[in-house]
Amino acid sequence: MKRRGRMIFFLLSAAAFAGVYLWGLRGLPAVGHYRGPYGDVLNRVATYERHVTDIVTAVNFDYRGFDTLGEEFILFMSVIGGSVLLRRQREEEKSEHRDDNLADESPERQAPEPSDATRVLTLALVGPLVVFGLYIVAHGQLTPGGGFQGGVILATAPLLVYLAGDLKKFKQITSHTLVEVGEAVGAGGYLAIGLAGLILGGSYLRNVAALGTTGTINSGGTIALISLATGLEVAAGFVLLLYAFLEQTLEIQLRGEK
């Protein structure tokens, strides 16, 4: 009876949802037929106004730079929240371990040694990956990409080191103080660039730096600078998060290696 009631409730709400959904779909423009004026206007003026070739990055870091600032601080806060939350639990478990030396190194938990092929391939990929990430960060104003995209790519480099089984190196990279400094400098840098716009140009996040020649890496003024700051913040943030998540597993695995 209860099951039947639930089923009826589900079918009713599913039907209602389908109705509203289909009704909403009818109002959508056809594929590839963009209606709003903003995209077209920006497509026409952004290259002249900001000397950039990737309009999306110009929108993110300039035309609606203030929104992106908020987004960046969402990431900043969630990274801080995540590591604070996991840190407390870590200490709890440590004190537990002292009381009774529980063997959580049960054999099925031990990760198998990575094969030589994995090791060689992952370690060989670290270099190109870092270069690619930096390229995406630095060319945000020219090609699709930018601070966020490049930052997450950079953050996967330590993950490759972990996959290669080099746990000590992974710990050295991810627990380095510079990561935290990078996170702070990246987030603060965005704010500071905005303040520079306020002081020199009269409004927050105004593009006050020299715009440079369109198509070169120095173009875009503050867009390129903000992209760099965001790249730093995102890369450091994700590395911090990775370390917070992997730390416990890592400690146990390192203990097992000894």
């Binding site: 009774d100 049960s106 938990r109 995406i136 990409g145 995209q149 997450v152 993950l159 998540f245 416990q248």
Partner: protein, 91 residues
């Protein structure tokens, strides 16, 4: 082009349903990784290469990894609770 878009959209729908229908969370993490990859491809086909770039890292690598790590943590906790329970019984 339209054919490509239809194909990738149905692919997204199929993989998403497969992820939802998978019951074991560990297998689900692998499924969601594949789903993230398909999503990245979809973004690329719909001419959003910058979104595809972040999607490929977040959806295909970071999210499944965090799910897996959370799972190992939960399981370890369960193991510990069980071991404690046994010790109490033995004592």
């Amino acid at each position: 082009m339209l054919f490509l878009q239809f194909t990738i959209l149905s692919f997204v729908a199929v993989t998403a349903t497969a992820v939802v229908l998978t019951r074991d969370p560990a297998k689900q993490a692998i499924g969601i990784s594949f789903y993230g990859l398909v999503m990245a491809l979809m973004f690329f086909i719909f001419q959003a290469p910058d979104v595809a770039l972040s999607q490929i890292v977040i959806g295909a690598v970071a999210l499944p990894l965090m799910i897996l790590l959370a799972l190992t943590k939960i399981r370890r906790h369960e193991d510990e609770q069980r071991a404690k329970h046994k010790e109490k019984k033995a004592a």
